[in-house]
Amino acid sequence: MDIEKLITPASIVANLRASSKKQALQELAKRAAEMTGLHERTVFDVLLERERLGTTGVGNGIAIPHGKLAGLDRLYGLFARLETPIDFDAIDEQPVDLIFLLLAPETAGADHLKALARVSRLLRDRTICEKLRGADRADALYAVLTQPSASHAA
């Protein structure tokens, strides 16, 4: 599963402003709604529903909120770097500043899981996260996310 299949340069937000987890999710839902043509509220509800099962703040300043939505035609990814880190209820209780949102159609099945595993592995790479935190423009962020990294070379 290639990251390129999930995001385009247009689905990167270089400096998202949010002061809370809820607000961040709302912002992301809004942008995802623009991209997918779905209703903002629907996306937000699905994300919130998922957070209730357990946080998607996977630690080290990273969150990977995700959910399944009827009416999507494919997997959609959305990456945002927050201007200031926020409390996200993360597993390590550390503030989050890198968020990768992943939305899957009802029918995605195994692809959904593969995409999640791929994103999670990508963001577990420390050097990549450092580069993401160092970049400040959407195209630079996109390049870091999609670069064939050392860990992906094999």
Binding site: G54, G59, G67, K68, L113, S120, R124
Partner: protein, 632 residues
Amino acid sequence: MASISFVNTLLLLGAMLVLAGIFSSLIASRFGAPLLLVFLIIGMLAGEDGPGGLLFNDYQLAYLVGSLSLAVILFDGGLRTKLSSFRGVLVPSMLLATVGVVVTATLTGIAALYLLDLSLIEGLLVGSIVASTDAAAVFFLLRAGGLQLRRRVGSTLEIESATNDPAAVLMTVVLVELLLAGEGGPTWDVVGMLGRQALIGTTVGVAGGLAASWLLNKVELPAGLHPLFVVASAVLIFALTAVGGGSGFLAVYLAGLVLGNRPIRAFASITSFHDAATWLCQIAMFIVLGLLVTPSRLLEYAIPALLIAAWLIIFARPLAVWLCVLPFKYSRAETVFVSWVGLRGAVSIFLAAIPMLTGLPHAEVYFNVAFFVVLVSLVVQGWTINAAAKRLGLALPRKGAEVRRVELDLPGQLDYEMVGYPISADSAVLEHVAVPGWARLVLVIRENRVLNPTEAGPLRVGDYAYFLAPPWQVYRLDRLFATSAEAREADGELFGEFAINGNVALGVLTDIYGLTIPPEIRGTTIADLFDERFEEEPQTGDRLPLGEATLVVREVDGDRVVRAGLQLPEAAGAVGSPLLRKGVRRFLTPAVAWARRVQMALSQLSKRAWFGLSRSRETSQGPLSGDQQENR
């Protein structure tokens, strides 16, 4: 003069062989070869057919070295077995160690009977010689291989292998005596002899263990003498039982078990001494056995021996295991794995030396066949043990982050030990992770000053932090002092991608991820699922499959799972890129770790053996008395 130079030559040769064994551990772990096999091969290379050209045929000496080593190894096995790990696996393990041995021996014996053209009792003797799984080999390969098995499988195998040697030894000794006495002794004699051996062994072993622990706590010994006292007591218990007509091996194992599960002083120094002693015994035993065999003669028995080994591995052992665990609902994967880890080892070769020693007819047949079977088992099973565990989904990938840890034994009490860690710039503890409540920070050493926690405030780079923690949980602290990257990687690999609360219903969860589960468990929560599937309380790291994914226990409160990790299927099973990268490290890290461990063990050994005597008594009185050991 001649005899002095002979002694010197002997010492030279012995030391060279041991050193060769130690260094070969580096090569062995790099190629994943079972170390015991390497020791054996070094012995064979040094022997009469190899470049070493040493002619060694002293079965008496080999038996002496073998008995002594085996006694120490078994004692160590007992010492390290916590009775609590018996929970839930005691009965199946005991069945395997008794009924399993008899079934394996009989089935193998029947094959040997035909293949080697022996009488019934002689055939059974071959069967008994190779019937027991080798505690040394199993413990060693399970632990040193860095393999973290699911609790039930690991405990079953360890307890089985530690307790089945006495059964095989008993059978062998009894059969040899029968053969010596002439054919056709009445069977009740055999039963009586078995009973007597077991009874005396149990009595002396338990009594000896109790006496040793009582003495250890009662008598004030210089600190360095505790481990020596224990090892000497072990040998005494072994020899005393054997002289009195009991099973010394059973006795010494039980004594270790008693000692290891009672509060005794200096436990840390005793176990670290035994680490070294066990290593030395393994090396000595395998090298001597390798020397003893004549490889060219071995080949004469290659074909029947190979067939016996194949029969044992493919048919006899699996059938015996299957019969023994039948009532206990082991999964197919578990049964297969337990069968596969029927490693034969030094015990079998050692037992095969008994007929030689007593001058039985066909003695050479027993010895060479047994040797060959062990060789095959070590190569085929020993080499594939990790792969098998992963293939069958029984391995837990707990990656031990490499941490320097100092352990201090606190005399007089056993609920806590003191551990110290250096804080480096990227220690996880500096970044985010909180120190768990059960670990108490007691002092910080900063710039050569000793500070109490209040004075010290938050930990800084370059500090040495000392904690009081329950010994059985200490390893969990390691994570905090690993570099945070390592800790995070270990976490992600172990616990999966996402954390899910324990009260979530499975149906809700599986809908989101498109996982398929039986409809009747959709309403069950994660916590309930672990409750139902585990007879004992679940522990962090316990795993259950959930459709295509895996649930891993992350946090437990009392006996309820409050948080579990969801491990996605691709990450769990893929041979993806990070795994490859890790693969390289997986070969290198153990090699380095082993080298350090061996080095440490040897320095401990020499320190304790030679300087322990001169240690002053005062040092053993202080609160942090003496037994400092650095683990890496």
